[in-house]
């Protein structure tokens, strides 16, 4: 039987009490120990000692990625460096890396938060976890490692890369739980099939814990079909801890926040106003008990919503929805806001194309030109120009209907879209004056 965490099923009032106490302590500690917060709170006329309700927190100013960068590397530490056991750095997807620091207590929280994913997957000492997130400064590798160790399972710390060895290890060591980015899981699955294996027969997988990048339901279904297992989404970011801030349960209907450690708000990214449950917006996180790198109202730039209602799985912690993209992934195409996930939603209705796609942005004259490159599935018979152009045209008009913006579709050869071992690069922006 998997390890149990009583707070995961505690009454929500009890969790709220922990949160309220935690955010007040965190805000006060930030104010007292971190010059950035002292100035930021003072400038906003916000007194952290005055927090008596969640509404009071909504008066506090936000902290952004830029603030963390400006104070890198050690300016945002709330404890002396001598108490810091480990540091990680963000993957720097969008610029200079930021630092996340951990005391022994912080590592302990992390272990157990990632471990909740393994609790949801019913992992125990009979499971074998193959961890092919990259080990190192990226929080994926060690976060998964700590959480999987905590669960009691056997851990294979293989890290990312050398895909054929990943496939052989999956088969030979009888891996039951695969932990990596979803795009790398797909690459492993495709490689196994190319090597002549039938993953459903040759592997013993029963669950995958895949995070660090958003993926669509269609992509998930494709993965589950190829590897014959159940895919759980996991969410986290270095700035607030790493993977484990929220994890999906077997219901696959949203990710349960580790609410005793993180307080979540959803805001309108343009106005900063807090939105009610159910509405889509930017996720803002306040840690309740992190010691080394606490944050008060950190703007994650991730777009999601709080799913209203209770989950049948019995976990009482509120759920965030699968990520809809990032505020900074949002493409502004001829004035229209477009998320790559919307494009993926349209594509999943076309059996003729695969899950591999790339969006290319360019300018022609002063106009943005968007090209969606997509690989076709082998069973699509493209023996005439009419068939190729007919398919391109059908996808184009579906995109136009869904997004209100014209996107040119271009079918490309198999394997011409680069496979990734980490985060997949879905958008190539060649527009002048943007990068």
């Amino acid at each position: 039987m998997s390890r149990q965490i009583p707070i995961m099923t505690a009454p929500h009032e009890q969790i709220e009490q922990i949160q309220l106490e935690g955010i007040k302590q965190t805000a006060v500690r930030c104010y007292e120990n971190i010059p950035f917060y002292r100035k930021s709170f003072d400038d906003a006329g916000f007194d952290p000692r005055s927090i008596e309700s969640f509404d009071d927190l909504a008066r506090a100013p936000f902290v952004t990625k830029q603030d963390l960068r400006d104070n890198a590397p050690y300016g945002m530490l709330a404890v002396p460096l001598s108490e810091v056991r480990e540091v990680h750095m963000s993957s720097g997807t969008t610029g200079v890396a930021t630092l996340g620091a951990y005391t022994s207590h912080d590592i302990e929280i992390w272990r157990e938060c990632f471990g909740r994913g393994l609790v949801f997957a019913n992992a125990d000492e009979n499971d074998v976890c193959q961890i092919c997130y990259g080990y190192g400064l990226f929080t994926g590798g060690l976060g998964a490692h700590y959480g999987s160790m905590w669960s009691g399972a056997t851990v294979i710390p293989i890290s990312a890369g050398n895909t054929e060895r990943q496939v052989r290890t999956l088969r030979d060591l009888g891996t039951t739980i695969l932990e990596c980015t979803p795009s790398y899981a797909m690459h492993i699955a495709d490689t196994a099939i190319e090597m002549g294996l039938d993953p459903a027969r040759d592997f013993h997988l029963r669950a995958g814990i895949h995070g660090a990048e958003p993926f669509s339901d269609a992509f998930r279904a494709d993965l589950e079909r190829k590897l014959d297992y159940k895919v759980l989404d996991i969410y986290g970011l270095t700035e607030t801890m790493g993977p484990g801030v929220a994890v999906e349960c077997m219901e696959q209907d949203g990710l349960h926040l580790a609410e005793d450690h993180f307080y979540a708000e959803i805001i309108n990214p343009a106005t900063g106003e807090v939105l009610p449950d159910g509405e889509w917006g930017e996720l803002v996180i306040t840690t309740t008990d992190r010691e080394a790198s606490p944050v008060v109202r950190y703007r994650t730039r991730d777009i999601t919503r709080i799913i209203p209602g209770e989950c049948p799985c019995g976990c009482t912690h509120r759920r965030i929805d699968r990520l809809h993209g990032r505020t900074d992934d949002m493409l502004i195409i001829r004035g229209v806001n477009v998320f790559p996930s919307q494009i993926e939603d349209v594509m999943k209705h076309f059996d003729e194309v695969s899950s591999w796609y790339q969006i290319e942005l360019d300018t022609r004259g002063s106009l943005d030109v968007v090209t969606l490159k997509v690989e076709t599935n082998p069973n699509f018979p493209l023996d005439s120009i009419g068939a190729v152009e007919g398919l391109q045209g059908k996808i184009q008009s579906a995109l136009k209907t869904a997004l209100s913006v014209g996107i040119k579709v271009k079918l490309v050869e198999p394997k011409s879209i680069p496979r990734s071992e980490g985060k997949a690069k879905r958008v190539i922006d060649l527009r002048k004056g943007i990068n």
């Binding site: 076709t376 082998p378 699509f380 018979p381 493209l382 023996d383 005439s384 120009i385 009419g386 190729v388 152009e389 271009k410 079918l411 490309v412 050869e413 198999p414 394997k415 011409s416």
Partner: protein, 142 residues
């Protein structure tokens, strides 16, 4: 009906050469080859030995190849014979999707056509034979 190999190729330098090299290395012999091109990609249509195996070889090498049935018709080598054939198509109300011509080993003209789906092709074959045209099999051309 004859199996035609069609390969989807992006317009890139050396791409056609490497695809042909791949077929050559696999011992596939080509009888006819034609390219339909757009600005971004081309469809290379090939009549060759063992089209199913050729498609598998290309798929494994990362190309997108597909096999589809086409109709090949033998025509006497004289002015107006193709026009006669096309008039017959027209009279039967069939639309030609694409077509190309080549010479067989014994010097006869062969014309390859793609006409709609499998059912339409079968019907056209029947009607053409009725009208006195010779519908060729693989053995007739290679």
């Amino acid at each position: 009906m004859i199996d035609q190999l069609t390969v989807f190729l992006e317009n890139k330098e050396g791409h056609l050469a490497s695809m042909c090299r791949c077929l050559g290395d696999a011992g596939v012999n080509m009888v006819a080859l034609t390219i339909a091109e757009s600005s971004e990609y081309g469809l290379v249509r090939i009549l060759c030995t063992e089209p199913e195996r050729a498609a598998k070889v290309l798929d494994d090498a990362g190309y997108r190849a597909t096999v589809s049935p086409v109709m090949a018709i033998g025509l006497p080598d004289r002015p107006g014979s193709l026009a006669d054939l096309l008039d017959t198509f027209d009279g039967l109300g069939f639309n030609v999707e694409y077509g190309y011509c080549f010479l067989t080993r014994d010097g006869r003209a062969a014309d390859v056509f793609k006409v709609g789906g499998a059912a339409a092709s079968a019907e056209v074959t029947f009607k053409l034979e009725e009208a006195g045209f010779k519908v060729l099999s693989w053995e007739d051309i290679a």
